[in-house]
């Protein structure tokens, strides 16, 4: 490794991967739960057949087609799902959002103890490398990022190992006035130790924050994922919601659909009060391109509505969703209301809302699950919320904590899918299969939206169609 070959650029060399640096300490000492390992090793055929048994109206051939689909733009994704139930006890995994450039490797126990690089290696070996090998462009390899150094150093070290060559690890920060990454006529360059720009043939991209104009569409440098994946819904909840609706319309005769809470798009600031009433006095307000739990407001009373309105821009449009409720109430509409199933009650009787992050990648056989973990809320679902506490404490599952010295994370609320934690979630293999199928449908919907919006991705369409045919 060579540190600081230029400002915010390091050169990572083969052999630099250090497991202790790329997983949370708790994860390094964890063992994957056998049910999770079993799930991760299921074939597509097994999952399709099981999903069909769980949803008899679904068409297995269509599910298989979606699972084995080769995305052109969105080949690496992370879906956040919630485990919900209705008045009659029908449980679902509902899609909350789907992210391009998802985090998650650092929270995933090793699937195979003999593969030191775990999911980092599976993603680079089975998704990134085949694309790069089939791509004729010349130049070096890079990892560009704007957060999450723990995982991105790991990715850079894995790319170096898998390709057997040095990799530029470059920070592409939105506030950097003189960033070490530039694009010229679609080709990416990274600044080296003598202030020269080095051509990059392919880059692993973990850039999660606007402005997206920093990265051009249809670049000559191969990107995983390209920016189109973000614009088509991978980093925009509003666009994703429209893509899900189109998917559901297209496949309604096949008995499948993407489950999401009821969603209202392009809601004007002045219409928020109306939606609050329409949804029975509760809702979730989302800034369409919000990220990491920022810009998401759960609202359960007028005070919270006013507070949310005071924090957001009156000139913008918002996404409004029905709230997934904490507890059953007779006053709620039995045909539309959903409730958090929550964690198995602990010894004090407390059950917490949680989400499930499922990271997936496109491989030769189609989409495969790669990493999975959960995050639980701070305050239990089944205890009365103190008057001075915001409902986000009950419903919000994001681990980021903003302190005086910047951001940290609430480790105690991270639920690993290991021997110790997984049982507390009350999930089984069926729920993981349901979650995975929902996630593949969401990825399909967003990728199709990217193709409709930006056209075929010429740079890899031959590659994906050759896999699809084989």
């Amino acid at each position: 490794m060579k540190l600081s070959i230029s400002k915010n650029v390091h050169l990572v060399e083969p052999g630099d991967f250090e497991p202790t640096d790329h997983w949370y300490p708790r994860v390094l000492n964890s063992n994957i739960h056998p049910l999770v390992s079993y799930f991760l090793n299921l074939t597509h055929e097994q999952m399709v057949e099981r999903y069909h048994r769980l949803h008899p109206q679904s068409d297995p051939e269509t599910i298989k087609k979606i699972m084995s689909y080769q995305p052109q733009y969105f080949r690496w994704a992370g879906t956040d799902l919630m485990h919900v139930t209705n008045h009659e006890g029908n449980r679902k995994l509902t899609v909350i959002e789907t992210n391009s450039c998802p985090s998650g490797q650092k929270s995933m126990p090793l699937l195979d103890l003999n593969v030191e690089q775990g999911g980092y290696k599976r993603l680079i070996e089975k998704t990134f490398k085949p694309m790069v090998d089939a791509y004729p462009e010349k130049g070096s390899l890079a990892v560009i990022y704007d957060k999450n150094p723990m995982e991105n150093i790991g990715y850079a070290a894995t790319v170096a190992d898998v390709f057997g060559e040095d990799v530029f690890l470059a920070k592409f920060d939105k506030d950097d006035q003189d960033p070490p990454v530039k694009f010229d006529e679609g080709k990416m360059y990274v600044r080296n130790e003598v202030e020269k720009w080095v051509e990059i043939r392919a880059a692993f991209r973990y850039v999660t924050q606007e402005p997206w104009t920093r990265i051009p569409g249809n670049p000559k440098t191969l990107l995983l994922n390209p920016i189109e994946a973000c614009l088509a819904g991978g980093r925009n909840k509003e666009v994703a919601s429209a893509a899900y609706d189109r998917f559901n319309e297209e496949f309604k005769d096949k008995g499948i659909s993407i489950f999401t809470p009821d969603t209202y798009r392009k809601v004007k600031y002045s219409e928020l009060d109306h939606h609050f009433d329409l949804l029975g006095g509760s809702m979730v307000i989302k800034v369409p391109d919000s990220n990491a739990g920022q810009g998401v407001y759960t609202v359960v009373n007028k005070n919270e509505l006013e507070h949310a309105k005071s924090e957001i821009d009156p000139n913008d449009d918002y996404l409004v969703q029905q709230l997934i409720h904490s507890n059953y109430s007779k006053g709620l509409d039995p045909n539309k209301s959903w409730y958090h199933v929550g964690t198995i009650p602990d010894s004090k009787g407390r059950s917490f809302a949680f989400d499930l992050r499922l990271m997936m990648h496109a491989t030769e056989e189609g989409m495969r699950p790669l990493a999975v973990y959960s995050r639980k809320s701070r305050f239990p679902l089944n205890k009365e919320l103190p008057e001075d506490m915001n409902s986000w404490e009950v419903y919000g599952t994001n681990l980021s904590v903003k302190g005086e010295d910047g951001w940290s994370y609430a480790d105690e609320r991270l639920m690993l899918f290991d021997v110790r934690n997984f049982g507390q979630l009350g999930l089984g293999v069926d729920e993981l299969i349901k979650g995975f199928v929902q996630s593949t449908m969401a990825v399909y919907a967003i990728d199709q939206n990217a193709i409709q919006t930006f056209g075929q991705r010429e740079s890899i369409s031959n590659f994906t169609s050759s896999i699809q045919k084989s």
């Binding site: 490794m1 060579k2 540190l3 070959i5 390091h10 050169l11 250090e18 640096d21 150094p149 920070k171």
Partner: protein
């Protein structure tokens, strides 16, 4: 001489990687991403060594060098400069730096420099 070492550099990844490397080589490492935090750490700790980047968001490495030396003359200080910063390196030596190294940094080479200062 204390094995406690201070890294002052605004690149978090640099600090992370160098901390890992030096920790494995039996140093007790603390890091700061700006001059203010570095001064706070210096108030509370006695460092045997410091690795200071010249360019920091709120001050430069030579400012910190002077404060560190005035607190403990025995501290060994390595200033990190950039390609083409020879004038700064010369100035740093005049102000009491024990060594300077230019980016890019090979951690093994940096370790040799530090061990040579013991």
């Amino acid at each position: 001489m204390s094995n406690k070492i201070l890294i002052v550099e605004d690149d978090v990844v640099f600090c992370k990687l160098l901390t890992r490397f030096l920790s494995k080589n039996n140093f007790q490492v603390m890091d700061a991403q700006n001059g203010r935090d570095a001064l706070e750490l210096m108030e509370l700790n006695d460092f045997g060594f410091a690795i200071l980047d010249y360019r920091l968001p709120d001050m430069n490495g030579i400012d910190i060098l002077e404060k560190l030396k005035s607190k403990n003359q025995e501290s060994k200080i390595v200033l990190i400069t950039r390609y083409g910063d020879e004038d700064i390196a010369t100035k740093a030596i005049d102000k009491g730096a024990d060594a300077f190294v230019s980016k890019p940094i090979n951690p093994d080479d940096l370790l040799s420099v530090i061990n040579g200062l013991r």
